[in-house]
Symmetry: C2
């Protein structure tokens, strides 16, 4: 059995060998292989060198190039939870846009506390990433502060930060809530509740503010807010229980994300509450399989992939021009109407004592 | 406004500065910072150098260390589709196990054809990854062949390869099928169909073979196989339609994955076929939200995360000992019984003409 690592070392082709095959100096080969200096060499020689490199199977060493040129052409991406279905399509958009520009993506799934986050980001910086895309930001984020102080090119995606000093690509949560409330008001609802996300995250805050503004605009007097501790099914269930215990007259719920809405479904099932018959619910994000639930969930579809693509482009721009003002890009969501929203039971029937009918 | 990149360059601390602060030579600092040579230096000096490095905010340059030491401590991970819910938890397991060992993860989401796959893997090799985890393998995979020839340390995850020359970590698909068929036979089914996955992938083939063996063992005479072109809902729907058109007596379906089972749900809804009343169905993988479908889907839960963790460990072992024989690790699945499987309608009732009762 051959030793793979031996094979690998033995077959590694050097610049000298390429130079010999193309009958030029090694320095000429270096200049040809570097896009920044290729124009210094005549076309005929460039062609000959590239042909020799290809024929010999020469592989550029990008680490050496990164050390010389000061750019690794690698970007670090930090995620709070790759298993939350919001993030894979964002990663997909980021890698797609960066691969097209010849950039690699170092990924970190940062599940731990701030210390662990710092450790992983520190490792990325030791690997000389050219910049970072953070999907992990809280509204007050020590890691973001630190990257700013360190002068690391940085873009936030999906979740923004309060400081406003960092470029970000996020969903237009105000528009989301305007679309959600308008849909419910159009159906005839007047007692509408918002199951808010955690207020330490920008998405939690902006959806809550958006809900309050939209409720005011539509003159919805009976709007109620209950905060879920996390963007999860479990937290959604707990928040929904508190809501229904305290506010029996609510006929519609705008959940801050789909998982919170799924927590509502669990409560409805446990309490035998008909949806949308007795109560309507709207999610947020449009994660996979919502169309197959019972009932299929009405939700706001966010542009996950485009968010990732835009974040990648914004970061490349930032690396090229670090002094540019930090842009904030918002992408428009789309209301996807399925079967979890319907007109409320007529009040007249209720007051007429039809009861369980 | 300050220019970030300037700030960054200015604040970068050198080994010389650390040496001056610790009153030692620069070469001593280098030896202390390299785990392989640290033992050459006395404990007191090691402590002084590390304290000075920390106080000054010295950041190691891992690119330079990688060039010197020949190891980048970065692993490349190639995925066929990060949006397929099988892969995020696998990535999670890989990054978790590698981060614990100080390794970074370069990720590529390889959606294109073989040329694009080769281009992305080539870039990873130019970045001098120490090894690759491929979740993209087909049974006959040119990319795997090429990595073997290139002597790149390599581990396959989730999908194996026919050659058997590469270590792999996969689900025990034979056990999956044994559990599925035993469950259905236990309920009284005798006309059982398999909606197979694409046979160019190892998961497609091994689940089919597992189904055939399990059917034989249980003496199921009336087993039928129809192949889905892809592991997707759409392909599952098409395959289910073909199956039901050709074999009206089938009472249970073992789908090669959850998405194919969801395709069956779509056909059942369109044709008003009751599940599990008229037909039972079992999925494979246990992707998120199956418990909230109507009916909740019975499935085989695979150990996604553990698969990722094992693949990472196997690769690190491979890098340390390239000549070791290629292991194949299989992980045991677990049958998760929900509500999409039930006893078939009694044949006696059927023949007695009770009809729709």
């Amino acid at each position: 059995m051959t030793t793979k690592s031996d094979t690998r070392t033995v077959t590694r082709v050097t610049i000298r060998e390429v130079a010999a095959a193309a009958s030029v100096n090694a320095s000429t080969v270096s200049r040809v292989l570097n896009p920044a200096t290729r124009h210094l060499i005549g076309d005929e020689v460039v062609r000959r060198v590239l042909a020799a490199a290809k024929a010999l199977g020469y592989r550029q060493n990008r680490l050496a190039a990164a050390l010389r040129g000061g750019q690794s052409r690698v970007i670090g991406v930090c995620l709070p939870d790759i298993e939350n279905p919001v993030f894979p399509p964002i990663v997909c958009g980021i890698t797609e846009a960066l691969a097209a520009e010849g950039y690699g993506v170092l990924i970190a799934n940062i599940v731990g506390k701030i210390k662990e986050q710092e450790r992983q980001v520190e490792q990325m910086l030791e690997r000389r990433v050219d910049g970072l895309v953070l999907a992990t930001a809280a509204r007050q984020d020590p890691l973001v502060r630190r990257c700013i102080l360190d002068g690391v090119p940085l873009v936030l995606v999906n979740r923004g930060e309060d400081g406003g000093q960092v470029p970000e690509v996020v969903n237009d949560d105000f528009l989301s809530m305007r679309l959600a409330v308008a849909h419910l008001v159009g159906l005839g609802h007047t007692r509408i509740a918002h199951l808010a996300g955690p207020q330490r995250l920008a998405t939690g805050l902006s959806r809550l503010q958006g809900f309050q503004i939209a409720s005011q605009q539509h003159g919805v007097a009976g709007s109620v807010v209950v905060e879920a501790a996390e963007f999860t099914r479990e937290a959604g269930r707990a928040a929904c229980e508190r809501l229904l215990d305290a506010h029996r007259d609510v006929t519609a719920i705008v959940a801050a994300n789909d998982l919170i809405a799924l927590g509502c479904y669990e409560v409805f099932a446990a309490r035998r509450i008909a949806c949308p018959g007795a109560i309507s619910v709207i999610g947020h994000n449009d994660m996979p399989l919502l169309d197959m639930l019972n009932p299929p969930l009405t939700t706001l579809r966010i542009q996950h992939r485009e968010m990732g693509r835009q974040a990648a482009r914004l970061l490349l721009g930032r690396i090229a021009t670090p002094s540019a003002a930090p842009l904030r890009i918002t992408l428009a969501p789309e209301l996807v109407i399925r079967s979890s929203t319907a007109a409320p039971r007529a009040v007249s029937r209720k007051t007429a004592g039809v009861g369980a009918a």
